[in-house]
């Protein structure tokens, strides 16, 4: 913290408005600090997908016929995708709604902080928590549930872009959905319900080959289904492709849909984001 104080005096000398990227980093550091100081939130955020992985993978552990895998293996990439979405979509959707309701956003808007710095800060937070969440699930999956780390560079590369595009798209969707709840009290229900529904129809809790096609088709409109599918492609043997709706991993289409959600999510945020809640006009 001493360096912060010293630096601010340096700024005082030149009198220019501080840059967006620098402030974005500062905000990111602040967001991460605030996040990790709320111990209960930290524990539950990271434990949630792990507990679900443990439950599902322990209950459904039989061999999947003709796919060369066990059902428990299916749950590792599924929970990883859900974990990415929960650290981005769910946590931003709720926390921004709360910050708006508690006038934290209005306070920021009254300063010369550029709005982009606020969003950059959120992205840093989501990136750090998303990486941690994914690393924890990967550790549990590889040690307990027979999932192997990908052996070729191509799969690692796919893992990286699925993570980045999925996280970004879901984070933007989370920022957009934060404008829906009318107050912080309703925020978690408003955000969690669609997330839960998506988890059911995107192949997180229920294996993809047992979900009705029309449900899968609705799920396919959103990023989660593609994140699950892409991560299965990264972590499961190619023999498991038979379970997929299209009979293959469809990496190209996955990239396209996730990329489209990044662009669409950004537009949605720009069009709908509000600094005050509706009561405040």
């Amino acid at each position: 913290m001493t360096t912060t104080a010293v630096r601010s005096r340096t700024d005082a000398r030149d009198g220019r408005l501080p840059g967006v990227w620098g402030l974005g980093l500062r905000r990111g550091a602040l967001e991460i600090k605030q996040f990790f100081r709320q111990r209960d939130q930290v524990v539950f955020t990271f434990a949630f997908p792990v507990v679900f992985l443990f439950l599902f993978a322990s209950i459904f552990s039989d061999d999947v016929e003709g796919a060369g895998i066990k059902a428990s293996q299916l749950y590792v990439p599924a929970m990883m995708a859900a974990g990415i979405m929960s650290t981005s979509f769910q946590s931003l959707g709720i926390s921004i709604a709360v910050e708006r309701d508690e006038k934290v956003l209005r306070r920021l808007r009254g300063t010369p902080m550029p709005p982009a710095a606020y969003f950059l800060g959120k992205i840093w937070l989501v990136l750090v928590t998303g990486i941690l969440e994914t690393a924890i699930l990967l550790l549990v999956g590889t040690t307990l549930y027979d999932v192997d780390l990908p052996s070729d560079a191509g799969k690692w590369f796919a893992f990286a872009w699925i993570f980045v595009l999925g996280l970004t798209g879901c984070a933007l969707l989370g920022i957009a959905v934060s404008s829906v709840p009318k107050s912080s009290k309703s925020a978690s229900s408003v955000v969690v319900l669609p997330f839960l529904v998506l988890q059911f129809i995107s192949g997180v809790y229920i294996a993809i080959d047992t979900i009705p096609d029309w449900m899968l088709n609705i799920g396919a409109l959103f990023p989660l289904k593609w994140m699950c599918q892409g991560l299965r492609g990264v972590f499961l043997p190619d023999s498991a492709q038979v379970l997929e709706q299209a009979g293959g991993w469809e990496f190209g289409r996955t990239a396209l849909v996730l990329g489209a959600w990044c662009v669409g999510g950004l537009l949605l945020c720009l069009l709908t984001f509000r600094w005050k809640n509706r009561r405040d006009g």
């Binding site: 913290m1 300063t111 006009g281």
Partner: protein, 292 residues
């Protein structure tokens, strides 16, 4: 106070003409004119719902207006740039700060947003939170939080400070401390606009006052001049020999007292002569006399 500079329109820190704002059928602000000079402490008085907060929010750039011209530090707040925002400090009526951070972390962080921030440690001292600098915000008392709000309002070294009911919920001692802080900032040359319900606060701090009622400015002047202009007459109170209290409102209290001296031939029981206070003037102006 910078008198003699008002002839130049550009010397006004805040210049408002014909401001209007409607919420549905309710007219919150109904054609307000305000001129606040640079360096002045200006008080905006009025009952709840008179349009004070709406006016201040429009000046902050936080609310759209329906009509009227508004210039704050030479710019329209509806199109405030970052450079403009860095010159305007705001303390809202209902604030919140990040609960998990410490006072020092928060003040230092907010200093980062500004091109020419004040020294964070100095600002923490200015609002009297040195002892709490290392404490998490969630552990502060209401008055301490309010002082942190003020610290965040002044950290950027604003030319204009907008304070919306800054001392609501303060105990009397905290209020006096806050007044000292406002005087200190004013002495440094900060232009200050403050809204308040507290008449004594307005009288203690403001160089000039505007009284708002039902969205309109009903009077605007220096506090003493307001009292003189609208607070005509006096009240004479005494007790009759049969024990009945009597009250008389008069423009000539001396004559009333002289007549009483004749009647009582000596001490007049329970005699009290009072001039209207600023509060009486305020209640009369805002049509709330019956509220007493």
């Amino acid at each position: 106070m910078l008198t003699g500079m008002t002839t130049h329109a550009n010397e006004l820190a805040v210049d408002v003409r014909g401001l209007r704002k409607q919420y549905g059928d309710v007219t919150a602000v109904d054609g307000i004119d305000l001129g606040i000079r640079r360096g002045e402490v200006f008080g905006l008085l009025g009952p709840n719902g008179a349009g004070k907060s709406t006016t201040v929010e429009i000046l902050q750039g936080n609310r759209d207006r329906d009509a009227g011209e508004v210039s704050v530090l030479g710019a329209d707040p509806a199109h405030g740039t970052r450079a403009w925002r860095s010159k305007v400090g705001i303390v809202w009526q209902d604030e919140s700060a990040p609960a998990e951070l410490t006072v020092a972390e928060t003040v230092r962080h907010f200093a980062r947003y500004y091109p020419r921030p004040r020294d964070p440690e100095e600002v923490i001292g200015l609002v009297g939170l040195e002892a709490k600098a290392g404490s998490r915000i969630k552990g502060l008392s209401g008055g301490q939080r309010r002082r942190l709000d003020v610290a965040l309002g002044v950290i950027g070294g604003p030319e204009l400070l907008l304070l919306d009911e800054p001392t609501t919920g303060f105990d009397p001692a905290a209020r006096r401390q806050f007044w000292d802080l406002i005087r200190k900032l004013s002495d440094e040359g900060t232009t200050i606009l403050l809204t308040t319900h507290y008449l004594e606060e307005a009288e203690a701090l403001a160089d000039r006052l505007a009284v708002i009622s039902r969205g309109k400015v009903v009077a605007e002047d220096e506090p003493a001049a307001l009292r003189e202009r609208y607070g005509t007459g006096a009240t004479v109170e005494w007790t009759e020999p049969d024990g009945a209290p009597r009250t008389e409102h008069t423009d000539t209290p001396t004559r009333t007292v002289a007549a009483l001296m004749h009647r009582f031939d000596g001490e007049i029981p329970g005699l009290r002569v009072s001039r209207p206070t600023l509060e009486d003037v305020y209640l009369r102006l805002t049509g709330q006399e019956d509220a007493r």
